[in-house]
């Protein structure tokens, strides 16, 4: 009896917690739409504090940080513009080490800062992001976590020997996505694994992977572009794709909006 009551209370608390988090999130998004960034960011942080593992909350919060940075300092923002989210996630994850999606968003928050940083800071940040993606995998292995860490390895120059690590992660992600219900977002797995093979000097496997992907996603321009290029043209194209100084789209919206 006592335990049943406790369970009921716990359910009530959790649902009201969830309601409060959603309310804060909705209000936060409205404030961001109205360009009231200080209020909006505080509300989104409140939502995340209540639900640290909420992938959507974290993603939208990071996008709001990015918009605010670009408003203050056009183009890519200044490094300090991103420190708020890094500090916030640092505190959040110190208390919620099991929140795999929290680590993922923490890593992406670091990635978001990279284009605004200097060349050496970019390396330090990229290294930090990798460690957070690893913590996400340790907390709860998932397609998105392996895919993300695998793609992150691709941005490292070959001399650091991380191309094989990219292949390993992206092969795992591919294995996972083949067991999951098909979704449009999984085209990224084929693109990235092909890119990883290319970076690992396995051109034949790269082309095979892109071709396999194109059969499933015949409209993919990314796959078509890669398959249409050879030699130096392909290298120039992929070097540009993997240019660490260019901003990577870390908006995770596709995860909950695509079929």
């Amino acid at each position: 009896m006592k335990s049943a009551t406790s369970a009921a209370i716990a359910t009530l608390v959790l649902s009201s917690f969830s309601w409060a988090a959603n309310d804060a999130f909705d209000k936060g998004m409205k404030a961001i739409s109205a360009r009231d960034y200080p209020a909006g960011l505080s509300l989104l942080e409140s939502a995340l504090t209540q639900e640290p593992d909420n992938l959507q909350f974290g993603s939208e919060y990071r996008q709001a940080i990015l918009k605010y940075a670009r408003k203050i300092h056009p183009k890519e923002g200044q490094p300090a513009d991103f420190d708020r989210s890094l500090k916030f996630f640092e505190g959040l994850m110190a208390k919620n080490a099991g929140a795999a999606n929290g680590w993922l968003n923490f890593g992406f928050a670091v990635v978001d800062k990279i284009p605004a940083a200097g060349a050496i800071s970019q390396v330090i940040l990229a290294n930090s992001a990798l460690s957070y993606f690893t913590k996400s995998i340790e907390a709860k292995p998932s397609w998105i976590a392996y895919y993300t860490r695998g793609v992150s390895y691709l941005f490292w120059p070959k001399i650091f020997g991380r191309a094989p690590l990219a292949v390993a992660d992206l092969e795992l992600a591919m294995k996972m996505q083949k067991t999951l219900p098909p979704r449009g977002i999984y085209v990224r797995g084929y693109v990235a694994l092909g890119d990883a093979y290319w970076k690992n000097d396995e051109l034949d496997k790269a082309r095979a992977m892109w071709s396999e992907g194109l059969k499933l996603f015949p409209d993919s321009t990314q796959l078509k572009d890669r398959l249409a290029k050879q030699g130096d043209d392909l290298k120039t194209y992929l070097d540009d794709v993997m240019d660490p100084s260019k901003r990577v789209d870390t908006d995770l919206k596709d995860l909950w909006t695509t079929k």
């Binding site: 200097g118 060349a119 390396v123 120059p157 001399i159 650091f160 100084s245």
Partner: protein, 569 residues
């Protein structure tokens, strides 16, 4: 009628293409035949940090050009950095060969246990018409007064410029327009004795915002053979890891502004206030960067009447900073157009210099590059292991990994960017055979055989120089000017020349040693393309006097003396 003195220099026999060259290749490597037979050697330190320092002191190869004996042919000073190595003064024998007269001239002793030569600068500090020689050193700088007759006198102590600093670069211009050349010295390390450091904390504290470097020193020329340190007074105190400085009149207001390229941090732009002081306007002029500025060269690459700036940074697989080509937008604002113009990527860049090598009227660009070319193993993973180590104190040299026999951005090909009409550059270095993969540091541009085609002399660290003689087939026209100030500093550093031919006007100026590890000719060279004549050249002297000279012939070098032209408002 103009009273200018026109000195006609006959075309040299160099119009005939040398054997072994082709119509497509316009430069021939004459390094050895010319007599440049003393390769540069890096300093090997003997202190307890020597194994680490060796990787970061691959510096000191530089080249400076001037006609020190007034015989009408450009001579060369090449620096050496080894402990017992001599600096070299190569006298031009008028036939594309040179003879090292450094020892006889008294300018060869630049290295010992407490001093390492870094760069050289010719300047006529006493306005006697004879170029004097300033030597930047890690240690005590030197100033040699040109006494004439091929002899120099060390006046460093009397001049008051020999305080301890780790100087890597000097330029000279008359910042206060008092008719005398002042000296600006850039220093890399802070003034610790790097031969026997008392502290291990003398390396850069940050890779992007380091402020524990040597900064710059401004020496005001007192006109009596002495100089006064006026760095604070003129507003130039800073503590960046200065690698290069470049002066020019960015806003055409009559006085020279200053760009300072800093390694490990933000380059600085100083506006000359016109009253003997400068104001740091980096934020509004450029914005703050975190790159590894190595070079500050000015030139009007798009012929819009405003001087632009070329800065090298590091661009390699592991660090993609990209160079700056700061397009002068007017009103002391600049936009980086390196990506758009194709000048973004030159590897680990060092000295870069504008020149019109094909006399087509557009400034081309030669860029040296490469840090350390050694073994097949790369130093990159070692350095990044340190960089990503949490809490590491970069300023402490003991935390830096020894380079050993590894390479870092080595074996890079030099670039010769041909200017394709002011908006795009195309690399022609391989075509012309000027793409050596030695570890380049500086380049000097001069017409060593007075044939109207600009030659190149490249200084390489721990290696041979490269002397590239320009053998372009005849056709495009040119004209060059050597200016002599009377009210202005005699070398006319800072003078702007606007040459008009038909509806085209070009802007060039006399620079006082711009470009890292390289000083080019003091002559101002204009490529005229197919135009066999031009209408006029307007000279705006540093004194403020504006004069127009007309009726001058093309395909000649003209000596122009201040006050001999038609004065204009």
């Amino acid at each position: 009628m103009n009273r200018h003195i026109a000195l006609s220099i006959p075309f040299a026999a160099g119009l005939i293409l040398a054997a072994g060259t082709t119509q497509d290749r316009w430069f021939e490597d004459l390094t050895h035949p010319a007599g440049f037979v003393h390769p540069h050697t890096n300093r090997v330190f003997k202190n307890k940090y020597a194994n680490i320092m060796s990787g970061y002191t691959s510096l000191g190869a530089s080249v400076a050009v001037a006609d020190y004996d007034g015989d009408g042919f450009e001579d060369v000073f090449l620096t050496e950095s080894s402990g017992t190595g001599k600096n070299h003064l190569y006298h031009n024998n008028h036939n594309l060969t040179f003879t090292d007269v450094g020892e006889a001239a008294g300018v060869s002793k630049g290295n010992d246990d407490q001093n390492a030569t870094a760069a050289a600068l010719w300047l006529d500090f006493n306005n006697d018409g004879r170029p004097d020689l300033f030597i930047s050193r890690f240690g005590h700088c030197q100033l040699f007064q040109n006494m004439g007759g091929g002899k120099f006198k060390d006046v460093s102590k009397a001049a008051g410029i020999d305080g301890y600093r780790n100087a890597i670069k000097a330029i000279a211009f008359d910042y206060d327009r008092d008719g005398r050349l002042d000296i600006f010295v850039g220093s890399y390390f802070q003034p610790v004795n790097i031969f026997d450091p008392a502290t291990p904390r003398f390396f850069p504290e940050s890779f992007e915002t380091a402020n524990n470097g040597g900064g710059l020193t401004a020496f005001h020329n007192n006109g009596d053979g002495t100089f006064t340190d006026v760095t604070d007074k003129v507003g130039l105190r800073q503590t960046g890891w200065v690698l290069d400085m470049g002066h020019a009149d960015a806003d055409n207001d009559g006085d020279d502004d200053l760009y300072v390229a800093c390694d490990f941090g933000t380059d600085r732009f100083y506006r000359n206030n016109g009253n003997g002081t400068f104001t740091d306007i980096t934020e509004t002029a450029l914005g703050f960067d975190t790159k590894k500025g190595m070079n500050a060269e000015w030139g009007d690459y798009d012929n819009d009447g405003l001087l632009d700036i070329f800065v090298t940074n590091i661009t390699d697989d592991y660090m993609r900073e990209g160079n700056f080509l700061w397009h002068n937008d007017g009103n002391l604002k600049f936009t980086d157009l390196a990506r758009e113009t194709g000048t973004f990527e030159t590897g680990w860049g060092w000295g870069g210099k504008f020149l019109d090598y094909d006399n087509d009227g557009w400034l081309d660009l030669y860029v040296t590059n490469g840090w350390v070319s050694a073994g097949k193993d790369s130093y990159v993973p070692d350095i990044f292991e340190m960089i990503t180590r949490p809490g590491v104190d970069f300023a402490d040299v003991r935390n830096w990994p020894p380079m050993g026999g590894k390479s870092l951005s080595g074996y890079e090909k030099k670039r010769l960017f041909h200017n394709e009409g002011g908006h795009l550059f195309r690399d022609e270095a391989a075509r012309h055979g000027v793409d050596s993969n030695l570890d380049g540091r500086g380049v000097a541009v001069a017409d060593f055989d007075n044939d109207g085609r600009l030659d190149l002399l490249v200084a390489n660290a721990n290696g041979e120089q490269r002397f590239y003689h320009n053998t372009m087939p005849p056709g495009p026209h040119w004209v060059a000017f050597l200016l002599q100030g009377t009210r202005s500093n005699r070398q006319a550093v800072g003078a702007q020349l606007r040459l008009t031919a038909g509806d085209t006007t070009w802007l060039r100026f006399v620079d006082g040693g711009n470009s890292f590890a390289g000083q080019s000719s003091a002559r101002v060279h204009f490529g005229l393309g197919p135009r066999s004549k031009f209408d006029s050249v307007e000279v705006r002297w540093p004194s403020g006097l504006k004069e127009v000279f007309r009726g001058l012939a093309a395909d000649k070098l003209h000596n122009i003396v201040e006050g001999t032209g038609r004065k204009v408002q």
